[in-house]
Subunit: 391 residues, 2 copies
């Protein structure tokens, strides 16, 4: 067995990609900072109770479990950072007003979420706690757009749904938990035949509810969808509010926005808008977000919350390569003036690689284009020939 092979869907990140990721990470965190978002760093490990409470079965299945040798209790390696940040807002910062938090870090999944996914996504995200109006949804969507723009992403667009629409229809029709789960399943899969059959077989469902539930999968497309929904869905307060929220977001958006009222991703977790952002060069969504007002409740302090998380590896895959800095070779010579020159170049951000004795023949691997040479008693930069192959 070759003992250096990695598990499936687990990869090393090598220098060219690591440089791209590190550059984007800094850009995005800097942007979060000037928008007033404070960086926090939750741990990789928590007890399963704190990691998974209020987050639903999906996340539980995705979470690696470990026994804590110190307490004998079950711990999990985080599969998502958002619930951890909600815990920090609820219990550690303990502010009464709005708190804006940012994070960046790896999570682990027991299985890849899609056949093309990694089991170690690198999340970078921002969350607003303590505000339940549309203004905070708007702020996080604008921040996401600004982050994608700062990263030089092309063709950014957003798909937005709102889980309150389906939830209000279920409540109006007093649909039981079992049928709710089946309808949810059919809607998620856009499985119209099953949806029809479920609705036909459901007892006590009035014509308005039937029509509304059957309409949901068609409510997919541009802003016209919102007008259609307003005309054809029952005038329930949560539906009216949801449509007004989506209209407001559409009006403010600087990138193309489409709507999908049967999109119920994270239904057990989200409570308002849900959105996915896409861009050129990335197959799946590059960022996902939404409102999840109920998560903090699990920690004994319910706070409205809205935010998003970008997959930094996916984003880096779509971003332009980092232009490599010039690399200068310094000879293996002990000389105080040379050392001073090397330090001055490095202080200016130039990469200076010291040659190590006995390695002159592998010089081309170092990627240097010029070298330091002594001319008339001074150390100067001269071309390095032959030029190295491109790295």
């Amino acid at each position: 067995m070759r003992n250096w092979l990695l598990p499936e869907y687990i990869e090393d990140i090598l220098p060219a990609e690591a440089a791209r990721i590190e550059r984007l990470r800094r850009r995005v965190l800097d942007l979060f900072e000037v928008w007033g978002y404070e960086l926090v760093m939750p741990p990789l490990l928590e007890y399963v109770e704190s990691l998974l409470t209020g987050t639903g079965h999906d996340l539980d299945l995705r979470t690696f479990k470990l026994v804590d040798q110190l307490s004998g209790r079950m711990m999990g390696v985080r599969a998502d950072i958002t619930p951890q940040v909600a815990r920090i807002d609820a219990h550690l910062l303990n502010r009464a007003g709005v708190t804006r938090l940012a994070y960046s870090g790896s999570v682990l999944h027991t299985r890849p979420q899609t056949p093309a996914a990694t089991r170690e996504p690198l999340q970078i995200g921002a969350e607003v706690y303590g505000h339940e109006g549309v203004e905070s949804d708007l702020e996080v969507q604008q921040l996401l757009c600004a982050a994608l723009e700062a990263c030089g992403v092309r063709g950014a667009r957003m798909d937005v749904g709102h889980v309150a629409v389906f939830r209000a229809l279920v409540a109006r029709a007093r649909i039981g938990a079992e049928l709710e789960a089946e309808l949810f399943e059919a809607l998620q899969k856009k499985d119209i035949p099953s949806l029809r059959e479920l609705i036909r077989g459901a007892r006590g469902l009035d014509a308005v509810s039937r029509e509304a539930l059957l309409l949901l999968p068609q409510l997919y497309g541009g802003a016209e969808v919102l007008a259609l929904a307003a005309r054809r869905l029952p005038k329930l307060p949560p539906v009216t509010l949801a449509l007004a929220t989506l209209k407001r977001l559409a009006k403010a958006s600087t990138i193309p926005m489409s709507f999908d009222l049967s999109e119920l991703r994270g239904y057990h977790y989200h409570s308002g808008i849900v959105f996915d952002a896409y861009c050129e060069g990335v197959a799946g969504p590059v960022a996902r977000g939404g409102r999840y007002d109920e998560v903090g409740k699990a920690f004994g302090r319910s706070r409205p919350a809205t935010g998003f998380s970008i997959d930094l590896r996916e984003l880096a895959g779509a971003a332009a390569p980092v232009k490599p800095r010039e690399r200068i070779l310094a000879p293996a010579v002990r000389d105080a003036r040379l050392a001073k020159k090397v330090a001055a170049l490095r202080a200016r951000g130039v990469v200076v690689v010291e040659e190590l004795p006995g390695h002159e023949k592998f010089r081309s691997e170092l990627g240097c284009t010029r070298r330091l040479a002594k001319q008339d008693g001074a150390w100067v930069l001269v071309p390095l020939t032959p030029q190295p192959p491109k790295r």
Copy 2:
């Protein structure tokens, strides 16, 4: 049970500390880059065979184990990044000459290494592969000193040992594995009575070996230790070479350096110098390093290697707090000129926090000192009264 409590020795990093860590992380990675070290990001998880081969029993005990649901094989969450980077050098980059690599990331330990330690150290480190001379040891020590200086650390000093001295004495005296382990244990604990007893009880040990082994725990202190060792230890080639290496390092060091020839940390792993760096404000070592030429062998390609790893959380604890940026409050008003002004301020690196409707009464929590106000049709900065409490 309060389900938001974290496991013992596991902590959240809150905004003030996270800002310090992020700043130091960037400074150190930037320094590594201009010295020619390329960033890599190995995964959090690997099969135990690749994670632990060639690294010794200690690391195995510190490593959390997990079953891979995809393969049924045992995986480990990394407890150290160095062996991963050695694997990358050996198999992925596959260069014939010198490779310089850098990394930064969290590791997990099943138990804290000391009663004051965290189980989630944040490592940042640099490694040179492919060079076995003293020049690469010198380079990594100089880089470590430069990194500590760039972080504003005070009172930096270094303790250096060299495992080849003890190894050569053991080889000379043909000491068996069992006695070697016992002597090692006694030396590590500086347990002189046990050491004496072991040496007295050992059969076939000549006077020179006895004297040399008993001398080792006394070979602790400044440069005079090297002179004493040169006089009193047997003139074995590895001992002579080790002492020459230490002398060269001492001469080049810009920080106080002391020596300890009975320091055998990582004996099963290291093959040459081993060193710990200390500084004001950190109880234990803030960085550890050494030469470990044999690690790559486990991956089928033995390459000389030398490097170090800084504990970024410990370092951040000793570093000065980040001076908070000025925070400006922007009113919850839709106005194109206001939006332009906000964007311009943020582009200059000023933090602008937008007020969200309904939250005026919690304004003081936002930490802003000035606000944007409309005066004569233009948006200008005016003092915010009352001033917020210090965060």
